[in-house]
Symmetry: C2
Subunit: 357 residues, 2 copies
């Protein structure tokens, strides 16, 4: 099989970690008799510098031409001074929306070797393995009307709109049920139905869908309680499904429970299984270009890419097993090393995973 | 001095814990030569049962007539079946809005004796002492338009509006700066300015206000990062100020960091210093009427009432010291006891605090 992969290195440490992703895909090609052809595009700050816009049309065209996209990270203080529509994040939001990547899958998985890195007690997080599914193209991120207007007295007012159609809720709801089916068959839908009408509709649709998935145990939780429960007893969850803003907050909270966000991948999928894959950590401009970044979140994103967009489950398993193996061997980058432990560079860690594969 | 206090016992364990609050206020009156006259009103489920509405006009009139309100808790599964506008929570939202209680102060304080109750490692949370200030009468909780409408194709769409005027932001911002001044002089304003225009205006106003408070160190953080940082290193914060929905989520997360939400009070204040005080924990219907509830969050809410609405700082200190003293004596209710430790009833714990006072 031959696949076209668009690489979007982005900003900061992005180029270094995406280079490891490309190297790993080359190794996967060899081992699993696949073929990858790579294209390369600009997104975020680097795109602003080169073209004046965070999401050039050419990048979108390249993405539409690809089977999957591997993204590094975007952003950096350097671009935080421009007007809002010329910030790196706008590129990220724009590509999600333009490609219809409505389903954001964010696993929070704690590797046993790294349990000590969590700020939570080992017994609370050992064995943590949850997935947060965040709706990514709707809600208050994109709702209209929005903006800052002027009131009759001359002072200003800011306004944003959280809006969800039944169809939007249903399609992300189905993603939730489908993923729960492949895992522990438990789905927790998070909303704020005691206050928001948007959430009342959300809950109604989830309950209706639930009758089509009798094998999945559906529960509901208010978002404030979900934030509490993630801290109190995160292992109570299997799959969580929620709207865009709640998912932004809760998935970052869940990620931090593991203590090592340098390890966490993500997938953003559309209806056809096409997707963009990126590590959860940011562009870390402070360590950019120093070969200090942990490439494992990117390599685990490659595994998700193989699994969800290409349907190459064996190759995905292979990559995940290789990452687990290097951790068992005691190999560590700076962010996951305990004081005094020897530390690998970005390239050396990438090489180790390729070797383990 | 003579003060009028409205007691709103509410539902579940509410009556039991508010009874302890009343008992403590009587003891405070004696010790500090104050006088309290108590009135009593209905809010939430009990109000629905008695009057058909969660917030009877009479309750509002009583509140307007009082110097401060002490609330137990509202809600319970029993009332979760009715239509949305007839739920106990509506009473809570309604009284906040009607009385203009825009400033919600939620301390997350970890008593050294209870550090073990946290799911976080002791070194991460020992000495935790932060205050989350949540805007309580604006934003998406109250914004219009809102509701569930029908689309041209007959399917439905839910809609809510997050809206903040400059004036609303400024007044809660000032609360933030004022409280930071009384504490560690550090204020972190939490927003989502990289996505929401509401947050861009929020941040602009905070920065402008900051120049009036040069002695307060103002920082800004995105809400998703704030959720991470609360888990990663909560002691980095002193005072956090944020809008209604973000504050709902983050304050519950912060509360759970302490591991003992049975210990956490809250205050909801208006412009004049009038306020409603309530424990952060809910109505716990499962243990209602059994004298198992921990009254300490309510007693600490009494301390906040004395401090913020009545200006009786000495009495407030006295109550807080009394609570600290009973904890040092090893006295525990069931929720904060370690397995095997003797356990006090609600009344016995209330008596112990009165005795310590
Ligand atoms: C950068 C920002 C716009 C983005 C978001 O809020 O979606 C980020 O926080 C994320 O979670 O991918
Ligand atoms: C009960 C609910 C409406 C309320 C809120 O969301 O404000 C509660 O969660 C709180 O924080 O006081």
């Amino acid at each position: 099989m031959s696949y076209r992969i668009l690489l979007l290195p982005g900003d900061g440490i992005g180029p270094e970690i995406v280079a490891e992703g490309e190297k790993l895909l080359a190794a996967v090609a060899e081992k699993y008799a696949l073929e990858f052809t790579f294209s390369r595009g600009l997104l975020g700050g680097c795109a602003i510098d080169a073209t004046g816009t965070p999401l050039p049309d050419e990048t979108l065209a390249l993405a539409r031409d690809a089977d999957a996209v591997l993204l590094g990270a975007v952003g950096g203080a350097k671009w935080d001074v421009g007007p809002a529509h010329l910030r790196p994040e706008r590129g990220l939001l724009g590509i999600r929306k333009a490609l219809g990547l409505y389903a954001n899958l964010r696993p929070a998985l704690l590797f046993p070797e790294l349990a000590g890195a969590s700020t939570l007690k080992p017994e609370v997080v050992a064995g943590l393995d949850i997935v947060i599914i965040r709706e990514l193209t709707g809600g208050i991120y994109f709702g209209e009307p929005r903006g800052v207007g002027t009131l009759p007295d001359g002072s200003r007012e800011g306004r944003n709109t959280m809006v969800y159609s039944e169809a939007e809720i249903e399609r992300i709801g189905r993603t939730g049920f489908d993923i729960a089916r492949r895992r522990g068959h438990r789905l927790c839908s998070v909303d704020k139905a005691n206050v928001l009408e948007t959430s009342q509709l959300w809950r109604e649709v989830m309950i209706r869908l639930g009758s089509e998935y009798p094998d999945v145990d559906l529960s509901h939780m208010y978002v404030d309680n979900a934030a509490m429960q993630l801290v109190r007893a995160p292992k109570q969850f299997d799959v969580v499904v929620t709207e865009n803003l709640f998912g932004d907050i809760l998935s970052d909270c869940a990620a931090m429970l593991t203590g090592s966000i340098g390890m966490l991948p993500s997938a953003s999928l559309n209806q056809t299984g096409f997707g963009m894959y990126e590590p959860v950590h940011g562009s870390a401009p402070d360590i950019a270009g120093q070969q200090k970044a942990n490439p494992l979140a990117t390599l685990l994103s490659v595994a998700m890419l193989l699994r969800y967009s290409l349907g190459e489950a064996a190759a995905a398993d292979g990559v995940e097993n290789a990452v687990a193996a290097v951790l068992r061997q005691g190999l560590r980058t700076a962010d996951i090393a305990v004081a005094g432990e020897p530390v690998l560079s970005t390239v050396a860690m990438g090489d180790a995973v390729v070797a383990a594969l």
